[in-house]
């Protein structure tokens, strides 16, 4: 049985459609990365699948239970860690944990055992008497995670869990997620970091309320919209990337080009050889220090998909 089945999820706010017919499935034990620009509907989808926001239409099945029919049973089975650090600053680590144990109906010895176990699992025991306000970003996230999994949920939703914490803490948190995922817990994670996306076993990309990609990182890199037949991808290292980008885009065989740090990622017709490309660039006044063939990165995939969707939306708006 799938951990999450989303069928044609729709959420409207008046005339505005925040989520427009989103469907996907998440299997147990997957680390499901849910990506998309800000305001594209990520959090709305999470809220619908946690049972706190009613669906305008469609169905969400969590662990075999329909969220609309029985949100309470769903809430008992899931954990949720929201975008902001949302624990109580003026409570200690232990008090925060106790509160979550109580709110999920754990009593007495059972609660004490679960608290002890969760603290060990997340290695926060040394900090148990510290006020949450006094924890660093990484430890706060870890405490939030501990609270969210206090009741032993099979499915955890993490809304941008690593936003604003340092790289080391970020890495450690992800290591922990994989530990837990190995124990059979399913994760639904939103993120903006591409390196995090690369680590997910399953990815989906949402743009303006519509799901425009769904698959493993490997399959997404190969989708035809991103690497159409008869095209190739090069990385062009050059000095003045902004001017170079503008000039490179004037070349007739160029399909798309974007700046990537101090180089340009370019998609072009595969009739052009690497040497020819260098010459063509010189002709428009761009000196390439280095040209390398490139397999598309996830970021290329999402950028490409976003451009296509934008063009499509503008096209449909123009035809109106």
């Amino acid at each position: 049985m799938a951990a999450i089945v989303a069928e044609n999820l729709v959420r409207k706010y008046g005339e505005f459609t925040a989520v427009d017919g989103v469907s996907f499935q998440v299997q147990p034990g997957e680390v499901f990365g849910f990506l998309g620009p800000n305001g594209s509907g990520k959090t709305t989808v999470i809220k619908m699948l946690t049972g706190i926001l009613p669906l305008t239409s469609g169905r969400g099945i969590i662990d075999g239970i329909d969220v609309s029919a029985d949100p309470d049973s769903v809430k008992q089975r899931i954990g949720y860690m929201s975008q902001k650090f949302s624990l109580y600053d003026d409570l200690t680590v232990l008090e925060n944990l106790r509160f979550y144990a109580q709110i999920y109906g754990l009593r007495g010895k059972e609660a004490a055992r679960k608290i002890e176990q969760t603290m060990q699992q997340n290695a926060i025991e040394p900090y148990k008497d510290r006020l949450a306000a006094k924890l660093s970003g990484g430890w706060k996230q870890r405490l939030a995670l501990s609270c969210a999994m206090m009741h032993g949920p099979k499915l955890l939703y993490l809304d941008e869990p690593t936003a604003g914490i340092d790289p080391v803490a970020r890495r450690k948190l992800w290591d922990l997620l994989f530990e837990l995922s190995g124990q059979g817990i399913t994760f639904f994670v939103t993120t903006h970091y591409m390196d995090e996306a690369e680590r997910c076993s399953h990815l989906a990309y949402i743009y303006y309320g519509k799901l425009i990609a769904d698959g493993t990182p490997e399959t997404l890199r190969e989708i035809p919209e991103v690497s159409p037949p008869g095209t190739q991808r090069f990385e062009i290292a050059t000095r003045d990337v902004t001017t170079a980008l503008r000039r490179a885009r004037t070349l007739p065989f160029m399909r798309s080009a974007t700046i990537f740090g101090r180089s340009i990622h370019a998609l072009m017709e595969d009739s052009i050889s690497q040497a020819e490309l260098k010459d063509e660039l010189e002709k428009v006044g761009v000196h390439a220090d280095e040209i390398r063939p490139l397999t598309p990165e996830l970021e290329d995939v999402f950028v490409e998909l976003t451009y296509r969707k934008q063009a499509e939306m503008e096209g449909s708006r123009a035809s109106l």
């Binding site: 949302s86 003026d90 109580q102 709110i103 176990q117 032993g152 450690k172 290591d175 922990l176």
Partner: protein, 416 residues
């Protein structure tokens, strides 16, 4: 030690345990099922957490315990609404007939001024020589009252005509103006009667006023029972409203909604700690009022506490209602003010309701503090019993349940 190594070194058994967690929870199905039907689910957890917040919140302690004492000292000791020793300037020209520059006045004018002095209302601080000086003292605000005794005062009296004196009153403070005018007229009337009545004869009607319930017209007796009503507002309405709005602002409320907590459990868990705090505050105010300010409590203290609980309930519910609507602490503050200001001005706390234009009089019926004002003054000052006051308690409960129902509906919309 790094975290990952900590996790790795965990005994395999505990890892096993973790993955088996959910079936394990399932084995408690019996208790869980009973628990999941409970409309107050989550109450204990919220109560626990809220009590901790309260203990660590200096603002709450200040509102509940410090501000009441300061306000009581200000209103109980510093403010005296009885008008006494009003600064008075005198222009007495009645002595001018005898000596050219005499401001001492004549014998009869001195007798009259002594009457003014001994009334305790007027304090003569200065004699002046001219109308200009008199006016100046009034305009400059040095004097609230100016007395002018004309040069023919003595002559008129001797002739048996009506001798006039002029009393100028600064009307910018209406309570002082009203009371000084009354006292001045009374002195004039009394003095006239004395002169008209033959020696040893009594006035035909002798009015013997007796002020019931507050015989000495002491300000603390009047103000403190009302002040108690107003002070309880802060803890009940404002702090409760803040406690939820703060969670909205921080995003913790959203986190709570993902847990199986029920609206009633959430609201009661939030209300009860503040209810406890309000009770402590009330007991403190009562003790302070009784022992520090010597305000006698004529009625039953337990009845007062019981009826005050109705009032607290109403305002805690209003606090909930505010927090279900407000999205920031500022917003909550303004909405709370919308409740507190009418409670101060339209409850009879400061201004008597009977003198209000009908529209405000009508509005006062929708202000919970109006009923509590009746209850606290009734029990403390008049020794009223349940039979006299039950209707007030009923009105409070009605409003409380109304507000709570609305609040619960708003929260349900949020929680689903």
């Amino acid at each position: 030690m790094t975290t990952s190594s900590l996790v790795e070194t965990q005994p395999a058994a505990s890892v096993q345990n973790q993955s088996l967690n959910v079936p394990e929870a399932g084995s408690h199905n019996g208790t869980l099922a009973a628990w999941s039907d409970n409309p107050f689910r989550g109450f204990k957890a919220i109560f626990y957490k809220e009590s901790l917040h309260l203990r660590r919140d200096p603002m709450a302690i200040m509102f509940a315990l410090l501000i009441p004492i300061v306000e009581m000292i200000i209103l109980g000791a510093a403010i005296d609404t009885n008008v006494r020793q009003v600064r008075t300037v005198v222009l007495d020209q009645s002595g001018l007939m005898e000596h050219a520059d005499d401001i001492e006045g004549s014998q009869s004018s001195r007798a009259l001024l002594d009457r003014f002095r001994s009334s305790d209302t007027f304090k003569i601080y200065k004699y002046v020589h001219s109308d200009e000086e008199l006016t100046h003292e009034m305009v400059a605000g040095h004097a609230k009252v100016g007395l002018k005794i004309p040069y023919d005062f003595d002559r008129q009296l001797l002739r048996g005509d009506s001798a006039q004196i002029m009393v100028l009153v600064d009307g910018s403070d209406s309570s002082v103006a009203g009371q000084t005018l009354n006292v001045a007229s009374a002195i004039g009337l009394d003095e006239s009667l004395r002169r008209m009545l033959p020696e040893g004869k009594q006035p035909a009607i002798d009015v013997r006023p007796k002020v019931m319930f507050n015989p000495d017209s002491r300000s603390p007796n009047f103000f403190l029972p009302g002040l108690m009503t107003v002070l309880l507002l802060f803890v009940t309405t404002m702090l409760t409203a803040f406690s939820i709005v703060r969670e909205k602002e921080r995003g913790t409320l959203e986190q709570l909604f993902v847990t199986p907590v029920r609206p009633l459990g959430l609201m009661m868990g939030k209300i009860m700690p503040y209810f406890g705090l309000a009770m402590i505050e009330m007991l403190m105010i009562l003790a302070f009022m009784r022992f520090a300010f010597q305000v006698p409590i004529h009625g039953n203290v337990l009845l007062l506490l019981a009826l005050a609980m109705c009032y607290m309930f109403t305002h805690l519910s209003l606090g909930m209602l505010i927090s279900s609507k407000a999205n920031s602490q500022n917003d909550a503050m303004q909405r709370s003010m919308g409740i507190m200001l009418p409670s101060i001005f339209l409850s009879g706390y400061i201004f008597p309701l009977d003198n209000m234009p009908w529209i405000f009089y009508l509005m006062s019926f929708f202000v919970p503090a109006t009923y509590m004002m009746q209850i606290s003054r009734g029990i403390i000052l008049r020794g009223a019993g349940f039979g006299d006051l039950w209707i007030n308690a009923a009105a409070l409960l009605l409003m409380g349940f109304g507000a709570l129902t609305l609040a619960a509906r708003n929260f349900k919309k949020m929680i689903v």
